[in-house]
């Protein structure tokens, strides 16, 4: 009856000695590829997709405007709003906002300011075109519609 001899017990432990190394590697990956949140975004942000993207090289020359329906409709209503830094602004405030952003830059770089519009895909062109007209008045004419990468068809 040697066939049915009880099997010798096998150790069933996963080696954990390299766990810190693995976790540190993950940690460094995230530290390098991500950046700190500077504002908490209070509008819906479902960014549309496109194929012909261009990249902005210098982050210091970029100013972000977030447009979409507020995520807390009980507090701010359902109409799409414009968020700049940490506050909601109206289209008429944009000229002042652009001048503030420009004053933070060095004098020779002020005309290179690029406004990145992060617009929710369900927003309407009406509001966005109001923003564009104000940006033209403020002479901030480099514009980027922020999108995600879509696969080429």
């Amino acid at each position: 009856m040697s066939k049915f001899k009880k099997k010798t017990e096998v150790k069933q432990e996963i080696p954990t000695s390299s766990m810190p190394d693995v976790v540190f590697m993950l940690l460094f990956f995230f530290m390098v590829t991500t950046e700190l949140r500077e504002t908490s975004i209070e509008v819906k942000q479902q960014i549309p997709r496109a194929t012909q993207l261009r990249k902005l090289m210098r982050k210091s020359l970029v100013a972000n405007l977030y447009i979409g329906e507020p995520t807390k409709p009980g507090l701010y209503g359902k109409e799409p709003k414009i968020q700049a830094d940490d506050v909601f602004i109206e289209p008429k405030d944009i000229v002042r906002w652009v001048n503030e952003k420009k004053s933070e830059l060095a004098e020779n770089e002020r005309d290179q300011l690029t406004v990145s519009l992060k617009v929710d895909k369900d927003s309407k062109r009406g509001l966005i075109s109001d923003v564009e007209i104000e940006l033209r008045k403020a002479n901030a004419r480099k514009l980027l519609y922020s999108t995600l990468q879509d696969e080429e068809k």
């Binding site: 700190l36 549309p48 261009r54 033209r136 514009l143």
Partner: protein
């Protein structure tokens, strides 16, 4: 006498690393500095109100209404898969077809939306129009479309500037985005 080797307890190292990892996962975001880049026209009041006559044949008209339906050169269209090629043919016509553009310099793609048009549809069409131009530029510069866009993103490198200038030579990016009409929307 055997000397005892001093050692730091490292069994909790993984826990500490996980804690740090979780902290970074929560407080950071993936940066997104990519998108469709356009240049806005000068401020409305600075522009002299002159009537520029543009010949009908040099305009490629794309219109979208408030329910996101398309009108291309005056005709409704559902299928937009061939639109990119249509624009390329229009821009590079060079006077061959008398109904199409005279030269790439004179060709203008006119893009008009309504206040009620959704941003998603707007981006979809702008992507196609810009794609047509980038394809033309890339072909003229002898590089791929993606390479040309990379070069155009960073003009501080002389090599990129050369590709950019070669591609753009003689073909300006004439995309006119008109102020939206006020039929639908807010």
């Amino acid at each position: 006498m055997a000397r005892e080797t001093p050692s730091i307890p490292n069994s909790s190292m993984a826990d500490i690393a996980f804690l740090l990892l979780t902290f970074f996962l929560v407080t950071t975001t993936m940066p997104n500095n990519r998108g469709l880049s356009i240049a806005l026209p000068p401020p409305p009041e600075l522009k002299p109100p002159e009537d520029i006559k543009i010949q009908e044949r040099n305009m490629f008209k794309i219109q979208i209404n408030s329910s996101d339906a398309l009108l291309i050169e005056g005709e409704p269209r559902e299928d937009i898969s061939s639109l990119k090629d249509d624009i390329k043919v229009f821009v590079l016509n060079n006077g061959r077809n008398p109904a199409s553009s005279d030269s790439p310099e004179k060709a203008i793609v006119s893009f008009k939306t309504d206040r009620g048009t959704s941003h998603k549809r707007f981006i979809e069409l702008l992507d196609i129009i810009q794609g047509a131009y980038y394809d033309i530029y890339a072909e003229q510069a002898g590089v791929t479309n993606a390479k040309f866009r990379d070069a155009a993103s960073d003009l501080s490198i002389p090599e990129n500037k050369a590709i950019y200038n070669k591609g753009r030579a003689g073909i300006p990016l004439n995309i006119s985005i008109a102020d939206p009409s006020k039929v639908g929307g807010n």
